[in-house]
């Protein structure tokens, strides 16, 4: 691919991004938590549950990109403070989305990793802004984007001076409508051929179906992904957003017990 001066494999073999006690590109990193921060109680209870189940980081949205302007838009600064508190309680690093270039420096004061959502993948002014901070960026693939377009967006961030970009495959739009999106698992080995940046999978938004999250998580490990981003809610029935696709802490724990041995097994596989 042309013009990938910094993202292509020519420059580095594997980017390692250390956050807290784990490193993307070295360990299998599991990020779990609610779709959005709804209250202190909900966030901290979920944080404790995912920590106990073995998650490495907490996700949770304080700013929500919603299809409808009338849907819950997130708690904003209040949500960031709740995430900070959840981090103090559990020690889990925080991954949260930023929507507005004016918010970038502020979100970076609270979060350990800033997420760029699928709808903002090609929001170039936002990409330039997160390229200026000193925190890793989790860049989700645009739902209509090719790998080349996606990597060019990573290049935007790298070219501003931020070397720590984590890619996240979250499904693309196809004619198939049984699932919410189509999870493009082939992106994992393809990305590994094209770039040194780590890649994680979001099995929640890509499938939109609870029953498929487990199998696709296992498939992600087999495909060689560097981690997972999974929605967990301490009481999914009460969730203000995406209630029907969040795992309960119990289901998440079961999944974690299957994931770790599979990853260990894959590590033993001869190249």
């Amino acid at each position: 691919m042309k013009n990938l001066k910094l993202a292509s494999l020519d420059t580095v073999q594997q980017t390692i991004i250390e956050v807290g006690e784990v490193a993307f590109g070295r360990d299998f990193v599991v990020i779990a938590g609610p779709c959005s921060v709804e209250s202190e109680r909900q966030t901290i209870e979920t944080a404790r549950a995912v920590k106990a189940a073995g998650a490495d980081m907490l996700r949770g949205g304080a700013f929500k990109p919603r299809t409808s302007p009338y849907s819950f838009q997130g708690l904003g600064l209040q949500g960031l403070k709740i995430l900070e508190k959840a981090k103090q309680e559990t020690g889990l690093p925080i991954v949260t989305e930023v929507l507005d270039p004016r918010d970038v420096s502020w979100v970076a004061e609270f979060a350990d990793i800033l997420q760029i959502g699928t709808r903002n993948m090609q929001n170039f002014s936002l990409l330039k802004e997160v390229g200026k901070i000193q925190k890793p960026v989790l860049l989700k693939r645009g739902m209509f984007s090719t790998l080349e377009e996606w990597l060019n967006c990573a290049e935007y961030i790298l070219s501003e001076g931020n070397p720590d970009v984590i890619l996240c495959e979250r499904g693309i739009r196809t004619f198939e409508n049984y699932t919410r999106n189509t999870l493009d698992l082939s992106a994992v080995p393809a990305i590994k051929e094209l770039t040194h940046l780590p890649i994680v999978i979001d099995p929640t938004h890509s499938t939109g179906r609870l029953s498929l999250i487990g199998p696709m998580s296992m498939a992600s490990v087999s495909a060689g992904a560097d981690g997972l981003l999974i929605e967990v809610h301490h009481n999914p029935g009460e969730a203000l957003c995406d209630a029907d696709q969040a795992l309960t802490p119990e289901r998440f724990e079961n999944l974690m017990q299957q994931l770790r041995p599979l990853r260990a097994f894959m590590n033993e596989m001869p190249d």
């Binding site: 600064l77 507005d100 004016r102 918010d103 420096s105 502020w106 970076a108 004061e109 609270f110 901070i133």
Partner: protein, 353 residues
């Protein structure tokens, strides 16, 4: 004016009324030190009569009387409570007040303009206790305070280490994205320099951290915030935008509690000040006494003598009480080797300090 605007003005006035009442109650408590009896009917009558003479058409005299009587009653109740008057330097919400609240829990905390006001107030008996900073982990000794310690007759009866935890504060409803100017003491601004840079904020020096918070609450400047303790958020009704904004490892300040009386118990830490003759090895001779008696020194600092340029005062803090037999013996020896040995006191050590 729209209803929202009117309401916000009313809120602001209510807040100021309460802050003024807090100040008034503090003064009432201080006045007690000059009176033999809390009840002073002549003064009360005079106060009520003067207020009634004010011709405010919306604040009727019957209401004024009722209001002032309630205030007087409350201040008499406070005077009877026998709270300790604890003086600190700075405005309400200063780190000195944070230290005072920890050292003396249910006190009345009295702000003083200068460190010398804290010392004089306690020495002369208008205030019960004083709380002053002696050293900061980043900036070193607070020279003004150390200088005052060399001349005072007050005793040190306690110590506490306070973590300087700076918060970014703004008036309620301020959109953090619109903040451009940040007011605070130059030292606090310097301690948060990279936070300010990261968020593209302009530092504006102010005389005091808590003073900046107070100014924000009173004047509501646009696009402005202050760096101060989170206690200030409670005292001035401000929003905490972000806690812990200092760069790198948090710094701490050690405060001493001052009293006219020495500490009633034994204590496990002692502070002394002395000077030595300008001869080779004199300071070493003193320090050797402590080394040989295996007394652990926790602080040693020197300060030029204002009265005698070229000569120095030495400040020594060590573990143990002057009531301990070994320490008493060492002190007798130290007395012989030094000029103007002064023991500030033995007091309970703060395990964190």
């Amino acid at each position: 004016m729209k209803i929202d605007e009117i309401r916000s003005k009313i809120d602001k006035i209510d807040r100021e009324l309460l802050v003024l009442l807090q100040e008034r109650m503090g003064l009432a408590l201080r006045s007690k030190k000059f009176k033999t009896n809390i009840n002073d009917p002549a003064r009360e009558k005079d106060l009520l009569a003067r207020a009634e003479k004010l011709n405010l058409d919306l604040v009727e005299s019957s209401f004024t009387r009722q209001l002032l009587e309630t205030i007087i009653q409350e201040s008499k109740r406070l005077q009877e409570e026998d709270r300790m008057l604890v003086a600190f330097q700075g405005e309400h919400g200063a780190y000195g007040e944070v230290a005072s609240r920890k050292l003396v829990p249910a006190g009345a905390y009295i702000p003083c303009l200068e460190f010398v006001d804290v010392f004089r107030g306690v020495e002369e008996g208008y205030l019960d206790l004083g709380v002053v900073p002696v050293e900061n982990s980043l900036e070193g000794a607070v020279t003004q305070v150390n200088d005052l310690l060399t001349t005072t007759d007050l005793n040190v009866t306690g110590e506490i280490k306070v973590l300087v935890n700076h918060s970014l504060l703004a008036t309620r409803g301020t959109d953090y994205r619109e903040i451009r100017m940040v007011y605070s003491h130059p030292q606090a601004l310097a301690q948060c320099r990279s936070f300010l840079l990261r968020n593209n904020l302009e530092p504006h020096p102010f005389y005091d951290t808590a003073g900046a918070a107070k100014m924000l609450a009173r004047e509501h400047p646009k696009a402005a915030a202050a760096i101060a303790s989170s206690l200030c958020a409670e005292l001035y009704d401000l929003d905490v935008i972000k806690e812990g904004i200092e760069d790198g490892a948090s710094n701490s300040t050690r405060f001493l509690l001052l009293s006219r009386e020495p500490y009633a118990g034994k204590g496990d830490k002692t502070s002394i000040i002395f000077a030595v003759p300008h001869e080779a090895g004199k300071l070493f001779d003193v320090l050797r006494l402590f080394a040989e008696a295996e007394i652990n020194l926790t602080r040693i600092a020197s300060m030029p003598l204002r009265s005698d340029p070229g000569n120095y005062s030495f400040f020594l803090d060590f573990e143990g009480s002057r009531q301990d037999h070994t320490i008493a013996q060492v002190m007798d020896e130290v007395q012989k080797l030094t000029i103007g040995l002064k023991c500030l006191g033995s007091y309970p050590a703060d395990p964190m300090a």
